[in-house]
């Protein structure tokens, strides 16, 4: 077990509520300009994140989540992550994401109405991120 005085308070906030609140020993987030790790006593800073993996260390084994975008606000003793979409990679249905990707690609090729195009593009981006996260072998 990690020493409790070395733990940092983590809170992940989404528009649908508090996703997670816990004391952790370390976390690694996909910052816009590269991944960064945070432990207790870090200089306060705010970074935006790119779609990627958030690793949370509580014990030896890290917990993984896929982040789509958002901000990380780091204080001396706490970290807050504000994100619109965060998922547990185990909850992602890769086959469904692949189907969504195919659908979106097909819609983009057909180019019927601009309404569909825009949504197809967004759907494609999401699907690709989800597939990558599962296939990059983080387990």
């Amino acid at each position: 077990m990690a020493d409790s005085s070395r733990l940092i308070h983590l809170k992940i906030v989404t528009p649908k509520g508090i996703f997670l609140e816990d004391d952790v020993s370390e976390l690694v987030a996909p910052g816009k300009d590269g991944d960064f790790g945070v432990q207790i006593g870090h200089t306060p800073f705010i970074s935006s994140v790119r779609p990627g993996i958030l690793k949370i260390y509580k014990n030896d084994k890290p917990e993984l989540f896929s982040l789509m975008n958002g901000f990380v606000m780091v204080d001396i003793d706490k970290v807050r992550i504000f994100t619109e979409i965060i998922e547990n990679p185990d909850d992602i249905d890769v086959n469904r994401a692949k189907r969504a990707k195919e659908r979106a690609e097909k819609r983009l090729q057909e180019k019927k109405e601009n309404t569909d195009l825009r949504r197809a593009e967004a759907a494609l981006k999401r699907a690709v991120t989800r597939i990558q996260i599962n296939e990059d072998g983080f387990h």
Binding site: K16, I46, S47
Partner: protein, 288 residues
Amino acid sequence: MASLKELKERIESVISTRQVTSAMKMVSAAKLQKAQQLILKARPYSDELDLFLRSLASRNRRQLHPLLHEIDDKAAKNVGLIVVTADKGLCGAFNMNIIKKAEEYLHEHKDKKIDLICVGKKGFDYFRRLNMKIEASYVELFNKLEFEYSRDIMQLVTEKFVSRKYDEVLIVYNEFKSAIQQNIVLKQLLPIKELKEDKEDRYAAYLFEPSPEELLDELIRKDLDIQIWRVLLESSSAEQGARMAAMDAATDNADEMIKDLTLEYHHLRQSKITTEIIEVCSGAEGLQ
């Protein structure tokens, strides 16, 4: 006059309609609660984002960001109008109020080029029937609201705004006042109105990555996202409230109707029996 059999059938059909309306009322009550919980849950996220945005915006000169750039209201020639209705009917004047408000705006601003963006099936169907050009539509979304919808809408309008296709983006929707009251709101989404300055500046001690300017851009888009998300939740709550009230009134009306019809049925049955007795009596008298 209706026959006994016809009356009985009518009573039965009103009873089954009453069951439907009273069930819908209860379903709406449950959905209303859910939608309101979502509004509460969005608060920690949107409150913090709002503070952060104000802090960053007050340290940047507002002219720097195109989404904050305001032009003279009268000079706004191209307008994007987002019309938020429900996907379904049976909720009183809920949808019509919004459509009327949108039409009123279209009528009063004939000098402007107005693009319609329809959210909700009812508004979309209405304007499509009138053969009006609809720039974009989002339908069948209220049954399962996902944050991705508001992001799609945000991306659409910000792109058009930044590329100067729109000078202004407005949104018209039903605001949830109470379970029985909705307010029709027409508000400006873009350009973003004057932001209140953050006097405390709680973020003064932080380092930023990337630069505050780049963060600001992202933050403004996120703030719009959550604004649209809240509008969708408000509208969804208001819709359920309106449906609850409409179904409550319908159930009351059905009760009234059942009472009247049953009375009529008894009257008719009684007079039929009386006639029969008279017939029997006079027949018996004739035999004597």
